[in-house]
Amino acid sequence: MPESNPALQLEVSDLHAHYGESHILHGMNFAVPKGEVVTLLGRNGAGKTTTMKAIMGIVQKRGGSIRFEGQELVGLPSNRIARLGLAYCPEERGIFSSLNVTENILLPPAVKPGGMSLEEIHGLFPRLKERGGSQGTKLSGGEAQMLAIARILRTGASLLLLDEPTEGLAPLIVQQIGDIIRGLKGRGYTILLVEQNFRFAATVADRHFVVENGVVVDWLPNDQIEQSTEKLKRYLGV
């Protein structure tokens, strides 16, 4: 595990989380270096989403430590966490039906300077421009996913948490999302990605952490993924 270090955007150590009485995370340890794309891989129910939610402060009951740019997040409410420069794109997308597509994009407040403008976003997702006036939930599954990603690009957050951004998307769109993630990395964003699809993950990420039953059981840099395919397949039960 990397030591505490200013080049690290996010350090998670001994993170525990509970839903009610069920203990989901049992001491997660991992770190995300600045400017990198890092994935959490793991089977269904391994606790990937829960990790994201714990970082964002959406899971109330959590213990251990989460440091973002050196600042402790455990104990802060999620709005304060967001203000520090973290943005979260949830697995279930969370599009607002009472707002139209454009209003959805404009909703999250800018927390830091340097976010994308509406034009830039429309450039990335022309489909969203076409459907701009329609009600948020009237989008198809894939459109909604695009909207969910587009929405957090405006905020200027430096760490993006993307939870299965390719789930339920057409292959073509998956490719596009890959391009977008690489583009974002190029702009200096740090990205924590949750994926089931490690083939896709391999095309964008710098390193991978493998999650199993609420703990990180292994990690490997992207360039070793070829050699470790067998091991990964075992972890993911492919």
Partner: protein
Amino acid sequence: MGSDCIIETQNLCKDFKGFSAVVDVDLRLKPGTIHALIGPNGAGKTTCFNLITKFLVPTKGRIFFKGREITKLDPAQIARLGMVRSFQISAVFLGLTALENVRVALQRQLGTSFHFWRPEKSLEVLHERAHELLEAVGLGDYAQVPASELPYGRKRALEIATTLALDPEVLLLDEPMAGMGREDIGRIVALIKRVAKDRTILMVEHNLSVVADLSDYITVLHNGAILAEGTYQEVSNNSQVVEAYMGTGHA
């Protein structure tokens, strides 16, 4: 209408406040086949699905089931005809045990569902069949477990068992593999293959390897209209489809 089709739609259209989600779709399902509906996001697959199962009312067009027009029926009637659907997000009765989930589906055939004066014991005749169905989807050991405590993949399996309980002629599956791990996918694919023997299946699925593996026939939707139809081989070689949907990386 072709009498060899079990489900047929004619000029099916759906508008949402001026936006056409489905335009003039003529679907033809041959009995005993697995028919896949694919297409980019927003192509109108789920909408088509909802139209056929009457969870949405078509703006225009007609729907036939075994030659009989069903455009005017309501969702419950559709189910009684033998067309049963699953949902894009898993749909089980969380507070009931796995066994009870399946039993609820079986119990309609007894015709006693309004009998509030009959004891619960009267339902026990169904337990044998319910256990069979649970075994079939690999949930044999989970019969007494509340559905809420099942892991996601097993919930989907339970949902399929419940659907099969109605012994439907036509199964409509909306993204049955969404959110599933590989091992689960393998199991469900095998299951679908098994149950497809004497049934017709219409499914929406993005996982192309599953589609390739399972489907006999594919309809590609794009912008609400049919872009191409044919076997996986035919469709995946169609340049329009590759451009609009599959992308260059695949094929």
